[in-house]
């Protein structure tokens, strides 16, 4: 009987735990228009919020690239420092170079890079939207 009671309470507890976990939203790939390339000045990075996803679009002599602003350390937002030509995270001083590579501080991996598609003069960023 003891075992049955424990089993009953255990399954009930498990169901309560399931109640606390919200449903996961399905993600789907989506190309979002971010505007003409000429909108982004050379050596500058424009932060954008695409439906909650915070990205930054950087234009350098080598071309144009989009990164997630989420620092790979603990999720703060990186900002582009024009003087140092680096992405800097203010939380724990993690730094990334212009290719998104982690070069100093605690971040364990490079910034997430998002593919950019050019259609005519317009730029689109591929994101996983919820």
């Amino acid at each position: 009987m003891g075992f049955g009671l424990l089993f009953g309470i255990g399954t009930l507890g498990f169901r309560f735990l399931q109640f606390l976990v919200p449903n996961r939203k399905k993600r789907q790939a989506e190309a979002v228009l971010i505007g003409a390339e000429s909108r982004i000045p050379l050596n500058e990075a424009v932060p954008m919020d695409l439906g909650g996803q915070k990205i930054v679009v950087l234009r350098t002599a080598e071309g144009i690239a989009a990164f997630s602003r989420r620092c790979t350390d603990l999720g703060c937002l990186v900002s582009w420092s024009k003087e140092r030509e680096l992405f800097v995270c203010p939380c724990h001083q993690g730094t990334f170079d212009k290719t998104g590579l982690n070069i100093a501080g605690p971040p364990p991996r490079p910034l997430d890079r998002l593919p950019i598609v050019k259609r005519g003069d317009q730029l689109y960023v591929n994101i996983q939207s919820a």
Binding site: L20, V21, L74, P90, P106
Partner: protein, 343 residues
């Protein structure tokens, strides 16, 4: 309410015509006359103040991302004596953690956790960790910029633990991102689950201390009665503490930072002082190493009575070892806090 303390003490003192004092009376060893032995009663007093002021704050606080900051602003600047109640709540938690740390240092240096007192140490160390969790969930509720990014960083830290980390992160945030659901969950933890847990743990800790008795100290032969001597001493300390707190709140009324901005990290994201040292630690060391060393340190801390026993059996001079360890840890924390202030 019949507290377990009365239940326990009763058999020895049972009899007709006994007053309630006989139920709490206990002969304490004379070394408890030394004032640092009242350091545990201070967090207990502060816990009471935290419960009372916290209950008052819930009458105005609204746990939603749109209203949270506004309601804290209203408490601080609008409600009659709101600043004082919030200040008392804030100062109490600062002092509670400070005095818990002093209490830990006292027990550590006097090795009060030795057999049969291991459970006293283990239960007390869990009280300390739950108090830290209360501190974190509490400053998240303010929903200013430091709160928002603090929530992001701390929940992410939980998510980096292997296996249990990611599901726990999802459970705590109630989704993948910090959102209104996260705030509501932290509010529930701060105002319901954790206080009940902490209250139970504190009661358990006190009961365990009464049951296990106090550590033997050489040359502490005579007795120091719990009532009135020890209670009077604790009472005096509590009154002194209240006067100090009222002064501190009036001199340093509570402030409110800029509201949470999910688009931009606050320029100064330094957490409250009690998280300052671990915050610098994770800034200075590479991510996984910093987290694992913090976890390892916490584990060693909880299990220290057993480590002490193992080392003492190997004839290590534990009084000296503890002195060195305590000095090194305190110095390390002070240095890390100083570095945080410089940045």
């Amino acid at each position: 309410m019949a507290s377990p303390i009365t239940e326990i003490v009763k058999p020895g003192n049972a009899g007709a015509g006994k007053s309630w004092i006989d139920h709490i009376q206990k002969d304490l060893p004379e070394h408890l006359e030394w004032w640092p032995y009242t350091l545990g009663a201070i967090p207990l007093t502060l816990f009471g103040i935290l419960v009372a002021t916290g209950l008052l704050l819930t009458f105005y606080y609204v746990p939603s991302p749109e209203k949270a900051y506004e309601s804290v602003d209203e408490i601080t600047n609008g409600v009659y004596l709101g600043w004082f109640v919030r200040g008392l709540h804030k100062t109490s938690v600062d002092l509670m953690i400070l005095f818990l740390l002093f209490h830990v240092i006292r027990v550590f240096l006097t090795r009060g956790y030795r057999a049969p007192g291991e459970l006293k140490w283990v239960s007390g160390s869990i009280v300390l960790f739950v108090t830290f969790a209360m501190g974190f969930t509490g400053y998240s509720l303010v929903f200013d910029n430091v709160s928002y990014w603090g929530m992001t960083v701390v929940t992410n830290m939980i998510g980096t633990f292997p296996v249990a980390g990611p599901p726990l992160l999802y459970l705590l945030r109630g989704g993948e991102e910090v959102s209104g659901i996260t705030l509501l969950r932290l509010y529930d933890l701060h105002t319901k689950l954790l206080p009940v847990l902490l209250g139970g743990l504190v009661l358990g800790h006190v009961v365990i201390v009464r049951l296990m008795g106090f550590a033997d100290v050489e040359a502490s032969r005579r007795f120091h009665p719990f009532y009135p001597e020890h209670t009077l001493k604790m009472g005096a300390v509590a009154v002194g503490l209240l006067v100090l707190m009222v002064d501190v709140v009036m001199i340093f009324p509570p402030v409110l930072g800029p509201p949470a901005n999910p688009q931009e990290v606050a320029s100064d994201v330094s957490p409250p002082w009690y998280f300052s040292a671990p915050y610098m630690w994770i800034s200075l060391l590479p991510g996984p190493l910093a987290l694992w060393s913090l976890m390892g340190g916490a584990g060693l801390f909880v299990l220290y009575p057993f480590i002490d026993r193992a080392l003492a059996e190997r004839r290590w001079p534990m009084a000296l070892v503890n002195g060195v360890v305590a000095a090194a840890v305190v110095a390390g924390m002070v240095i890390l806090m100083y570095l945080d202030m410089q940045m």
